[in-house]
Every structure is written in C-alpha cells, then in structure tokens.
C-alpha cells in the first residue's frame, strides 16, 4: 500500500491529466479529431514502453519497432489463420516478444553504449528482412489486410470511441508500470546503471539481470502496442510497421517530454502527436515540410532543453498550486 501511495502521490497532477484525457475524445467534433486522440494515446503508450528501458538506463534502443512488428504480426496472423481472438493473440505476441527480447538482450545488453545502439538497429533490420522474404507466412512486402468484422471478441469497432478507450487504457497500464518502476528496486538499479555502470556493479547491482528484466518488460509492452495498432489500422506491412522511423518516433516523443521520467512520453505525445498530425494536414501542399519542422523541434529541444518539457511543466504546476494556497 505504501508503494501504491507513492506511485500516485508523487505525480498527482500528471495522473489527473492522464485520467481526464479519457474524456477528450467524447467532446471532439468529428472522426478526424477523434483519430488524432486515439493515435495520441497509442503513441504515448508506445513511447512510454520504450522509455521504460531506454529512458531510465540511458541505453538507446533504435530497434524497438521490431517488437511492435512482432506484436502486430502475431495477433493478426493467428486471427487470420486460426480465428484466434486478437485479445489472446496479443498475449501470444507478448510471449514471442519476451522470447525475442531475451535472445537479443542476452547477446547484446552487455555491449557498451554505441555497440548496443547499433545492434538494436541490426536486430530490427534482420526481422524486417525476414518479414519481407517469408511470403507464405507474412504476405511479404505486400503486407497483411485484416478483414473488418466489428465485435468485442475481434477487437474491432465501428465507431472511434471504443478504440480511444482501449488506447487510453493501454497508455494508463504502461504509465502505471513506469511509475511503479520508478519507486521499485529495479528502477533504482536501472537509473544507477545508466549513470555509471561500473559503480553500480560494485555496489552489488546485478546489471545483466536488471537490464534484461526491464528490456523484456519494455519489449512486451511495445508488442501489445503493436497489436492495438494493427487492430486499429487493420493493415500491416514490414517496411512501415518495423521501420526505423517508428523507433525514432518513440524516442522523439520521450525526449521531447522528458526521457527517464514516467510521464515524459505522455507529455511529449500529448503535445507533439496532435501538432504533427495537424501540421501534416495544413502543410500537405509541400511534402516533407512537417517532417522538417519536427526534426528542427527535436534539435532545438536537445540543444536547449535536454531534460524535456516535463520538468518545466512541473515547476509551472508547483507555482500554480502555491498561488492557490
């Protein structure tokens, strides 16, 4: 109970914002804006999943989209070939992602910074090649279409609202795990390893064990996000789901909000996902302009606010609360 108390007390304002955000899609005027809200929740969850390992331990994984691909393919292939409900498929995808994370983590987590980053890219690329070439299993480069049959057991709905609730729930689950991690032994160990690996090991941190467990949790959560993504889009192809730009998107949102904080990715996604989607709409006349703007924003954040927006926001709220008293 003490830990639960800590989890909620520490970030009370953020929890209130997260909870209140569920109401937003209900007030949005049309499907376009509701779609933005859905993607905002989903990206917040995915980015927070990435942050759970890479943010706290400061070891960038640029291949996390591979886990998203695993989740997406597992659930939809099971559904298409054997009629297994995506809810179950999501769990199967999680198990496969955990296995893959154990395999890849076991071999690469002991590598030093740069090497680890490069090996995550290699892992994602190998998986992408595999998904593109094994045509019988994954449909190759053409991808897989999931036929639209609305219903709870198929995790598909006619309207946007059920999707938004689902994505919101996903985001909350990931956020809760991150907040739990922050005050758990594992979380402290991860942060210590990120600060100074040798020192942490000397103090008795089993670096392989704690990094591997966080990596697996992060991979499983990301694969869940992959399943939700495909159930919403109803289409997957290797070059888009597993692309490096997806991995970069996780990182972008997390660093904009604040890397290595539970709510950083959420703040990043709440601000950047709607802005970038709207920008894409308004700037559609010139291809690439919105990508340019996003890239420049990222560079500016890294140069001038390397801790992200969240710390700034927290100071703002603290001042606000003090004034109220």
């Amino acid at each position: 109970m003490k830990s639960l108390n800590l989890i909620f007390r520490r970030n009370l304002v953020m929890w209130i914002i997260a909870a209140a955000s569920l109401a937003v899609p209900f007030f949005l005027p049309n499907r376009y804006f509701q779609d933005i809200a859905i993607m905002t929740f989903l990206w917040a969850g995915l980015s927070a999943s990435w942050n759970l390992y890479s943010g706290y331990s400061k070891r960038l994984s640029i291949g996390h989209a591979a886990f998203m691909g695993i989740g997406a393919y597992s659930s939809s292939l099971l559904y298409l070939n054997f009629g297994i409900s995506p809810w179950l498929g999501m769990l199967v995808g999680g198990v496969i992602a955990a296995g893959a994370a154990l395999l890849i983590g076991g071999t690469t987590l002991r590598l030093k910074g740069t090497f680890f980053v490069l090996s995550t890219i290699a892992f994602a690329e190998i998986l992408k090649v595999f998904a593109t070439t094994s045509r019988n299993l994954t449909g190759g480069a053409l991808g897989v279409m999931v036929p639209f049959k609305p219903g709870l057991q198929n995790m598909m709905w006619d309207g946007k609202i059920p999707y938004s609730v689902l994505m919101w729930a996903y985001m909350i689950v990931v956020l809760f795990l991150c907040a739990w991690l922050e005050q758990s032994k594992l979380g402290f160990q991860l942060v210590a390893l990120g600060e100074n690996q040798e020192a942490a090991e000397n103090l008795g941190v089993n670096s392989t064990k704690s990094m591997l467990s966080a990596f697996v949790i992060s991979a499983v959560l990301t694969s869940f996000g992959g399943t939700l993504f495909v159930q919403y889009i109803l289409f997957i192809e290797p070059s888009s789901v597993m692309s490096m730009s997806h991995s970069v998107q996780f990182i972008l949102l997390a660093i904009a909000g604040g890397m290595g904080t539970a709510f950083g990715p959420m703040v990043g996604s709440f601000i950047l996902t709607p802005v970038s989607t709207l920008l894409r709409g308004y700037l559609s006349g010139v291809n690439g302009l919105h990508g340019l703007v996003l890239g420049l924003v990222l560079i500016a954040v890294i140069l001038f606010r390397p801790d992200g927006i969240l710390p700034q926001l927290k100071i703002f709220f603290r001042r606000l609360l003090k004034k109220g008293k």
Binding site: F123, I126, F130, I251, I299, I302
Partner: protein, 275 residues
C-alpha cells in the same frame, strides 16, 4: 566493386567517430546531399559529376563546417545518447529538406560513360564503377597517409587515443575536431559523387548506405581507418556472394547477421585494438 565505395563512406564515419567521438547517424544524409548536388549541377549546368567534383567537394566542406559550428560543437561534452539523438534528428531534417527540394522521385544521371565499359585484358568492367573503385580506394589510402605523415594527422590520432592528454600537449582540440568532421563530410561527399552516375538519388538513399557503413566500421574496429577500408571491401565481397548464392533478398540479412556475430564474439572488430 561496390566495396570501394563502402570503404570510402566508412572511412569518413570512422574518422569522425575516432577523433570527435561522435556516432554520426546523419552520415548517409551527407552522401545523399552530395548525390543531389551532382545531379543538380548536371541538370542545370550540364557538367557531369567528374567535372563538378571541385565545386561539389567545396560545397560539402562548407555544409560540414556549418553543421559542426551550429550544432555539433554544442554537444561535444554531452552524453553519448544525446549526441546520437542529435545526429538522428539532423538526418531527419536533411531527409525532409531533400524531399522538399527535389521531391521523392528517383533522380539519376545518364552520362555516356554510364553504359561504357573498360577492357582490362582478362575482364571487362563498367567504367564508372571502375573509376569509383579506384578513386575511392585512392582517397582512403590518402587519408591513411595523411593521418600517418602530417602533423595535424598525428594530432588526430593523438586525440583519438587520449583526448585529455592530447589537449595537455598543446593540441587545439576544437580545431582538430572541426577539421576531422569536415574531412569526414568531404570524403562521404566524394563517395556520393562517385556513386551518382551508377545509382539514383532519392531522399532516403543515405539510410541504406549509412547502416552499411556502420556495419563496416564495427567490423573494422570502430575508430580504425585501415580497418574501415578492409571492412568495406569485405562487406562488398560478402554482399555479392550472398546475393549470388542465397538471392538478393538475403543480402542485407547476411551482413546484419555478420554484424551481430562480430559484435558478440569480437566486439573490438576484426582489426581493432584491445580496449
């Protein structure tokens, strides 16, 4: 034959990593820029890539200098992960700039030489490929000699071995960093230029080559210039063999697999020094 180009791209990357300590994810985007510059000059001025070589390299040097001054200089002391994120963001910006300026179409340069071939007695080779190979290997070897024989070259090697000690010995560390970054950019620009008659330019062309360059560099021992040259040739050979025996689709899988194997069993690279 593509091994020569890979070597040239990787040499620049290895130099920047070895001296500046920067993992440059935007390296491939410099390649892309040079290809577009070659295309632009060819399209507007009618000069083929070999004639526009000096202009192209000067433009690349200026771009390298500006990017170093405006962006990279600010994060030299920051965390590795911050630097990587920054170059990642930079590559995103450059890709989108290319998309705005030149659209997503494939732009290729068709000069008479593209389809000509040179007979070398026992084998016949496509002329631009042969030229690319010879110039690329020549430039890489020149860089190696520069590092070995000149004072600034020695300064670069000193910094890559021990930055603090080098600074205490009176080496102007910022200037050397800048020089290394600019040389790396120019070298990858040269690679792009040599590539432009044989390979079309498109905004994402750099991405393919930069992942490859990373593999080469890891294979060669991350900061070692001769290692990068040999690594580039090795990858070129592996790629063609894998393409021949297992099919084009598995080319990439083959060298990524090799990459992971090297990382696991010989993390200092095939030719790297013991850490």
């Amino acid at each position: 034959m593509s091994g020569g180009i890979y070597a040239l791209i990787s040499v620049g990357l290895a130099l920047i990593f070895g001296v500046v300590g920067l993992v440059n994810f935007a390296h491939g985007e410099f390649l892309m820029l040079a290809m577009y510059i070659a295309y632009w000059i060819y399209n507007k001025g009618g000069l083929d890539p070999y004639q526009s070589l000096p202009v192209n390299l000067i433009v690349m040097a200026v771009i390298g200098f500006l990017i170093f001054k405006l962006i990279m200089e600010r994060v030299l002391d920051s965390d590795h992960s911050i630097q990587m994120l920054l170059t990642l963001a930079l590559s995103m910006v450059l890709q989108n700039v290319a998309l705005i300026l030149w659209k997503a179409d494939y732009r290729s340069i068709r000069i008479p030489m593209t389809n000509s071939s040179t007979n070398m007695g026992f084998l016949t080779l496509n002329t631009p490929r042969l030229l690319a190979f010879v110039i690329a290997i020549g430039a890489s070897v020149l860089l190696y000699l520069y590092l070995q024989k000149t004072f600034t070259g020695a300064a670069m090697r000193a910094i890559s071995q021990n930055g603090k000690a080098a600074q205490l010995m009176g080496i102007n560390i910022k200037k050397t960093y800048m020089l290394a970054f600019v040389i790396g950019t120019v070298l990858v620009g040269l690679a792009g230029l040599l590539l432009s008659p044989i390979y079309p330019a498109f905004p994402l062309v750099g991405a393919n080559f930069s992942t490859l360059a990373f593999i080469v560099v890891v294979l060669g021992g991350l900061s070692s210039v001769p290692g990068a040259i040999i690594g580039g040739l090795v990858i070129g050979v592996i790629e063609s063999f894998a393409g021949y025996f297992a099919g084009a689709a598995y080319q990439q899988a083959a060298y990524f697999l090799l990459f992971i194997l090297v990382l696991v069993f010989k993390p200092n690279g095939l030719f790297g020094k013991k850490a």
